[in-house]
């Protein structure tokens, strides 16, 4: 069954959803966003301190503030505190709205929020006290804490799937495919990551590659793309350019992504054929990445002037561009010839910030600016969004460009076998620029916190509705339904 007029007329009104449901959904979205904002400020303050420790390693060198303890705190809290909470909060809103129904259970959403926060708080304390699985990237938290995170995922998956099951139209909108797939995949990944077998030797390397790349690519990427497919059409008041292209991107993403984790371990003792498999699938990822990016950009076609008028759209636009550039860069990095230079260098850190910050964080912010005002009825200030946008954009640009150039210099130094200290000296200016970019990024997060305050508890600001040109939407709906 396709969408019929009957389905449409049921969507978003009638007995499936009441004012009280709207209010509860807004509270959930708000609570997740506020929690995420706290973790963003905390984790990036740590990140900023770490950036300067490269130039001044003796600064604040007490054992609780050493690089080895703070670095995993920065990564885990940006991943599982900030990004996860921001994306899940918006995903609840998108799932309920695009299904034309209410959330299956408000209570489960609250339980999930507490579990996510409990895991992040306990994880932070454990890491700072020195309890960790130190060599396992992005799963440094001791395993009982990661079980709490897994429980949060299970609760979230249950709630999201049950919400989609309540949908008022036959078709499951693309956003929900991405969101539900992301949650389910991550449950699998988190389970594999926590099981005690094969957590030693080469087996551990294989599992680590499987876990760490899929934790990024099967959790943050699908959730962020799910938000794109809802927020971009919503803001532009124009449907996605091609639904079919989105379906293609979804299924190819699902097919290709899970097998490329091994590309983090090129030239390692992992079997050569396994490394080659990972490279092949890294190249295959160009299909969903380019299909998805083209789809988003074509949806924005002819409305590019709107980016300047609308900050929600500007955030989403930057996120799409960083998704395109960062993911394509990821494919290129997986080639052996280039990996030989970039492996272990700061280039990788630049890449991870281009993707996790330029893509995922900007997508989360774009979704919050586009959708939170629709949920709470409160807009942020235009100036506040402008300050956030420009500081974050300039900051991350400086950061990524500095580390990309510096990382390449570093890698070439190593390839040419100059004394190691020379590569450290060569990195000095790039480490400084990294800190400068980091300061701007951190300042932008304070502006974001201010904007979140105004969209939730504070006095609303002067920004226009995130939905551009509201009259257009109605015409589109009429045209599409009659056609």
């Amino acid at each position: 069954m396709a969408v019929t007029a009957q389905d449409l007329s049921r969507t978003g009104s009638g007995p499936v959803r009441s004012e009280r449901d709207d209010h509860e959904l807004a509270s959930i979205f708000t609570a997740y966003t506020v929690s995420a904002t706290f973790w963003l400020l905390f984790a990036t303050a740590i990140g900023l301190l770490l950036a300067f420790k490269f130039g001044a390693p003796d600064f604040w060198a007490a054992k609780y503030l050493t690089f080895g303890r703070l670095r995993p705190i920065h990564t885990n809290d940006t991943f599982y505190g900030f990004a996860s909470l921001a994306l899940v909060g918006a995903a609840y809103y998108v799932a309920a709205r695009s299904c034309g129904t209410r959330l299956y259970s408000t209570k489960l959403a609250w339980i999930g929020l507490w579990l996510f926060n409990l895991a992040a708080i306990a994880g932070t304390i454990a890491l700072d006290l020195g309890y960790n699985w130190g060599d396992l990237e992005y799963r440094e938290w001791p395993w009982p804490i990661r079980v709490v995170f897994l429980a949060a995922l299970l609760v979230t998956a249950w709630n999201l799937i049950a919400t989609v099951a309540r949908r008022s139209s036959e078709d499951i909108y693309l956003s929900n495919w991405y969101i539900v797939a992301g949650v389910l995949w991550t449950i699998v990944i988190a389970t594999v990551g926590v099981l005690p077998w094969y957590q030693y030797g080469l087996g551990q390397v294989a599992i680590s590659g499987y876990y760490m790349h899929n934790a990024v690519g099967m959790w943050f990427t699908p959730l962020a793309l799910g938000l794109f497919y809802y927020a971009i059409p919503k803001v532009l008041n124009r449907p996605i350019y091609s639904y079919a292209l989105g379906v293609l991107a979804f299924w190819t993403n699902l097919l290709f992504y899970p097998l490329l984790g091994g590309h983090h371990f090129l030239f390692s003792p992992l079997p050569w054929w396994l490394q080659t498999t990972a490279i092949v699938f890294s190249v295959a990822m160009l299909v969903p990445v380019w299909a998805g990016s083209a789809n988003f950009l074509l949806t924005m076609r002819g409305r590019y002037h709107g980016r300047i008028e609308s900050y929600p759209l500007a955030f989403l636009f930057v996120a799409v561009i960083c998704y395109l550039v960062g993911s394509t860069q990821g494919t290129v990095e997986a080639f052996r010839s280039l990996q030989a230079i970039w492996h272990f260098t700061s280039f990788t850190v630049g890449h991870s910030h281009l993707t996790m910050y330029g893509f995922v964080a900007f997508a989360a912010w774009g979704a919050v600016y586009a959708l939170l005002p629709l949920a709470t009825g409160k807009n942020p200030g235009r100036l506040g969004m402008a300050v956030h946008f420009w500081l974050a954009l300039v900051g991350v640009s400086i950061y990524v460009i500095a580390l990309s150039i510096g990382g390449t210099v570093q890698g070439l130094d190593w390839v040419h076998k100059v004394p190691f200290i020379q590569s450290v000296v060569d990195m000095e200016p790039y480490y400084l620029w990294r800190g400068v970019g980091g300061i701007l990024m951190f300042l932008s997060h304070i502006a974001f916190a201010w904007n979140v305050w105004r969209m939730t508890a504070g006095t609303p600001g002067d920004a226009a509705s995130p939905i551009m040109d509201p009259s257009v939407g109605k015409e589109v709906i009429e045209r599409e339904v009659v056609a």
Partner: protein, 72 residues
């Protein structure tokens, strides 16, 4: 490398599940119509900002022609 003994079966099982879900989706007509679903995000078109601030129009003000029909 024994980890592959666990990772490859897990991946295969997941691949089978994914294919299963794909066929479920095909059989439940998720791909019959690849045009119309794209307006789903726009249907929830009641503008909460305007509504929330003015609080006058609690109906949502969404207009869908009653007799409009979509032919699959």
């Amino acid at each position: 490398m024994n980890a592959l003994l666990i990772l490859i079966p897990i991946t295969l099982v997941l691949a089978i599940v994914a294919v299963g879900v794909f066929f479920w989706a095909v059989n439940h007509a998720q791909f019959e119509d690849l045009d119309t679903p794209k307006i789903l995000p726009l249907l929830d078109a009641e503008n909460r900002v305007q509504r929330g601030l003015s609080d006058t129009d609690s109906e949502g003000g969404r207009v869908v022609p009653e007799k409009a029909h979509h032919d699959p």
